[in-house]
C-alpha cells in the first residue's frame, strides 16, 4: 500500500491517486485546504512544493492537498491561476519522473495513452502522441526528426518532457464542481486578493493594428498560455521594434504562467541592446507560428502595406 501511496503523492493527478481518494474517503478539511492554498501560492511564485515525509498518512494528505487546490481553482475558474498551477505541478511531476523507476513511468505513459515502441537503445513514439504533446519548441519540430513508419525516434529526456506536457494539459483541464464548501470558497477569495492585477491594455492593440501572427500570440498571452521560447522572443522583439516601453512589455509578459520579472527584464533588455530584428515571415512559418496568408514578408511591414497600400478594409480570408 505504501508504494501505491508514494506514487499517488508524487502524481496526484493520476487515476491511482483518484482511486485512493475514493477508497480512503478522504474529504477536505481545514488543514488540507490551507495547504492546498499554499500550493497554489507557491505556483504563483514559480515554485513547486515537494514533500519529504513518507508516512502513509502524510502521503495521503499530499493527495488531499492537491485535490483541495483543484477545488479552489475550479471554484475560481481563473485561467491565470489554473495555467500557473498546471505549469508548476507538471514541472514537479517531471522532477519526480526523472528519478523514478521505469515501471512507474510506464504506468503514467500508459495512463496518458502514449503509443510507444522500444527498439534497442532508442525510444519510438507514434507521431500522433508526439504531435499531441510536443512542447512546441524548435528542436521538437518534426522536420528535424527521424520518423519512419509512423514512429519518431526520441531519447528518454524527450519522452519525459512530452509526458510533462501531457500532465500539464491534464491538470489545466479543471472541471467545474457544482457543490463547493464555504471553506473552499473562502480560501479562493483570500487568493484573489493576492493575484497580480491583470493589465488593462495600455498599448494600442486594436484589432488590425498587428499582423495576425502577433495577434494570435497576444491572444494566447492574455489567456495565460505558456508560449514557447520562439514565440516569446518574436513577441518581445516585435514590441521592442514598435518602441514599446520596457515596463509595458513586462506588464504584458506578466501574463505568462512562469513569469519571473528579473529574467524577463534581463532578456528584453538584452534583446534591445543586441538590436535583434523581427524575424521574417518565412522564419515565423518555420517556427510554426504563422497563422495567416498575408501579403507581407515581415510582420513589421504589416501596417505599412495594409494601411497605406490597400486602405483599412482588407479581408484576408477572401
Amino acid at each position: 500500500m505504501e508504494k501505491s501511496y508514494l506514487f499517488a503523492a508524487r502524481y496526484p493527478f493520476s487515476t491511482r491517486a483518484k482511486r485512493i481518494i475514493e477508497i480512503s474517503k478522504l474529504a477536505p478539511n481545514s488543514q488540507l485546504i490551507e495547504k492546498g492554498l499554499e500550493r497554489i501560492k507557491s505556483a504563483l511564485r514559480n515554485e513547486s512544493l515537494k514533500f519529504s515525509s513518507v508516512s502513509d498518512s502524510d502521503l495521503l494528505n499530499e493527495i488531499g492537498i492537491y485535490a483541495c487546490a483543484r477545488m479552489i481553482l475550479s471554484n475560481l475558474n481563473n485561467s491565470y491561476l489554473i495555467n500557473k498551477f498546471s505549469v508548476s505541478q507538471a514541472k514537479r511531476a517531471y522532477s519526480y519522473l526523472n528519478q523514478d523507476s521505469d515501471e512507474n513511468i510506464a504506468e503514467l505513459l500508459d495512463e496518458f495513452g502514449f503509443k510507444l515502441k522500444s527498439n534497442r537503445d532508442e525510444i519510438l513514439i507514434h507521431f500522433s502522441t508526439y504531435l499531441k504533446y510536443t512542447p512546441g519548441s524548435i528542436e521538437y519540430r518534426l522536420i528535424g526528426r527521424n520518423i519512419a513508419k509512423g514512429y519518431v525516434s526520441i531519447n528518454k529526456h524527450e519522452l519525459l518532457r512530452l509526458l510533462q506536457e501531457a500532465i500539464r494539459i491534464k491538470i489545466s483541464q479543471v472541471p467545474k464542481i457544482k457543490k463547493i464548501s464555504p471553506e473552499i470558497e473562502a480560501a479562493g477569495k483570500s487568493l484573489v486578493i493576492e493575484l497580480p492585477k491583470i493589465t488593462p491594455e495600455k498599448l494600442s492593440f486594436k484589432k488590425g493594428d498587428n499582423p495576425p501572427c502577433i495577434e494570435a500570440l497576444l491572444i494566447d498571452l492574455k489567456k495565460h498560455l505558456n508560449l514557447n521560447h520562439q514565440a516569446r522572443w518574436i513577441l518581445a522583439v516585435y514590441l521592442i521594434k514598435k518602441n514599446t516601453a520596457l515596463e509595458d512589455i513586462l506588464e504584458l509578459f506578466m501574463n505568462f504562467p512562469d513569469y519571473k520579472e528579473k529574467i524577463a527584464k534581463y532578456q528584453i533588455e538584452h534583446a534591445k541592446k543586441q538590436g535583434y530584428m523581427v524575424p521574417s515571415c518565412a522564419t515565423i512559418r518555420g517556427y510554426g507560428l504563422c497563422v495567416s496568408n498575408c501579403p507581407v514578408k515581415n510582420p513589421m511591414q504589416w501596417k505599412k502595406v495594409l494601411y497605406e497600400k490597400y486602405g483599412k478594409k482588407v479581408d484576408l480570408d477572401e
Binding site: L131, N146, A148, G286, G288
Partner: protein
C-alpha cells in the same frame, strides 16, 4: 471563384437549365463513397463554390434526392464528423474527429494552361502518398483515398484512426513537414573532434534518409559533375561506402562547399505543391469537394481514383455518355487535349461535339449552346 462570379453574366438561364439537367441526370446514378454520411456537414454552391453550408443528410438516398432536385453546381462535405452536423454556430456541432485531407495543385496562369500540369501534380500526389504518408507516417495504403479535384489538382483523404483525432496544430505540423518548412539540410552536417564531416546515413529515416537516397541516385547519374575526382570509380566507391555510415569526409570539400553542392538536392526534397494556405488540411472544420460529385467550373467528375498510376483526368473524369451537343465557340481555343482528342476552335465555329466536352467548354466560358 472569379470565374464563377462571371458565370451569371456569360451563361444565360437556358444554359444554366441545360447544365442543371446534365448534372441532375448524372446524380441519378452516381456512386457515393461518403462514409458516415449522417455525421458530415455539407455545403453547396450555385453561383459560388459554397453558397450555403450547415446542411446534413441522414443517408445516401436523401442526399441523392436533394442533388437530383436542387442540383447545385458544387457540393462539398466536411472532412470532420460531428454529433450534430447541421447546427450553427460551428462550435456547437460537437466535433468528433476528421479525415486528414491534402489539397495539391499548381497555381498557374491561363485558362487552359493549368491542365498541362496535372501530370506533374499526379507525380507529387504519388510521392506524398508513398514517401510521406506511407513511409514516414506509416499510414496504411488502404486508408488513403485519392480524389481528382475536378479541376486543377488532386485531393488525398486519409481515413485512419491514427489521424482522425489530430487537432489543428498537429495537422499544421504535418503539412509543414511535407512542405519542408524550416528544412535546412546544412544542419545535417557537422564536424567531429578530428575535423571529419559527419552527416546523414543511408538508413536514416525522415528527411535525412530521403536526402541520402536522393543524393546517391543523383550522384550515380553523373559522378564527375559532383566532383571531378569521381571519374575514378575507386574514389567514388570509397566515398559512397563512407556516406553509408555517415562519414562524408572522403572528398576534398569543405563543409561549406559540400553544402553548396548539395543545394539542388535539398531543394527538391519537400513537396511544395501541397496547398499550405487554403487551410484544407489544418482547418479541421473546412469543407472539401465531395468525391465523385461534379465540378461546376469544368463538368468533370471529382473522381475517386482506384488505380492512380493509370488515371488520366482528361479522359477518366468525363461523364460517361455517348450523347453529343451543339455548341458555338465565343473565343479561340487552340490544341487542347480532352477525351482522347486534340481540339482547336475558332471564334464563331459551330460544332457538334461529345456532351462532356461541350459542357467543359461552356463552363470554361469558351462556348455557348447553339441557338
Amino acid at each position: 471563384m472569379k470565374n464563377m462570379e462571371k458565370r451569371s453574366t456569360w451563361m444565360n438561364e437556358q444554359e444554366k437549365m441545360l447544365i442543371k439537367k446534365i448534372f441532375s441526370a448524372y446524380y441519378r446514378n452516381f456512386k457515393f463513397n461518403v462514409p458516415e454520411i449522417e455525421k458530415r456537414e455539407f455545403g453547396v454552391g450555385f453561383e459560388k463554390k459554397i453558397d450555403a453550408r450547415h446542411l446534413s443528410f441522414e443517408n445516401e438516398s436523401q442526399l441523392r434526392n436533394y442533388l437530383i432536385e436542387n442540383t447545385p453546381f458544387f457540393i462539398s462535405y466536411s472532412a470532420a464528423h460531428y454529433e450534430k452536423p447541421s447546427i450553427t454556430p460551428i462550435e456547437k456541432k460537437g466535433w468528433l474527429g476528421a479525415d486528414l485531407v491534402f489539397d495539391l495543385d499548381y497555381h498557374h496562369q491561363g485558362k487552359y494552361e493549368i491542365y498541362k500540369f496535372l501530370g506533374k501534380v499526379k507525380e507529387d500526389l504519388i510521392r506524398l502518398s508513398e514517401d510521406f504518408l506511407q513511409n514516414d507516417f506509416g499510414i496504411d495504403k488502404n486508408e488513403i483515398v485519392y480524389v481528382f479535384s475536378g479541376n486543377r489538382g488532386y485531393h488525398i483523404h486519409v481515413r485512419s484512426k491514427d489521424t482522425f483525432l489530430l487537432g489543428s496544430n498537429e495537422r499544421r505540423e504535418i503539412v509543414d513537414y511535407i512542405r519542408g518548412v524550416g528544412l535546412n539540410t546544412n544542419e545535417f552536417f557537422s564536424k567531429d573532434d578530428r575535423g571529419k564531416i559527419i552527416g546523414p546515413k543511408i538508413n536514416d529515416s525522415g528527411y535525412r534518409g530521403r536526402f541520402v537516397k536522393k543524393f546517391i541516385l543523383e550522384l550515380e547519374k553523373n559522378p564527375s559533375k559532383f566532383y571531378r575526382g569521381f571519374s575514378n570509380k575507386e574514389k567514388l566507391d570509397n566515398f559512397l561506402k563512407g556516406t553509408e555510415a555517415g562519414n562524408w569526409s572522403r572528398i576534398p570539400f569543405s563543409i561549406e562547399k559540400l553544402n553548396l553542392k548539395i543545394k539542388p538536392i535539398s531543394d527538391s526534397l519537400p513537396l511544395s505543391c501541397v496547398d499550405a494556405d487554403a487551410g484544407v488540411t489544418y482547418d479541421i472544420k473546412k469543407l472539401i469537394r465531395m468525391p465523385n460529385s461534379l465540378h461546376g467550373e469544368t463538368g468533370f467528375i471529382a473522381k475517386e481514383i482506384r488505380d492512380i498510376e493509370s488515371f488520366e483526368p482528361m479522359t477518366d473524369a468525363l461523364i460517361k455518355t455517348t450523347k453529343m451537343m451543339d455548341v458555338e465557340f465565343i473565343e479561340d481555343v487552340s490544341d487542347f487535349e480532352i477525351g482522347g482528342s486534340i481540339y482547336s476552335f475558332k471564334i464563331g465555329d459551330k460544332k457538334e461535339i461529345p456532351l462532356p466536352i461541350g459542357l467543359f467548354f461552356i463552363l470554361k466560358g469558351s462556348a455557348k449552346t447553339k441557338k
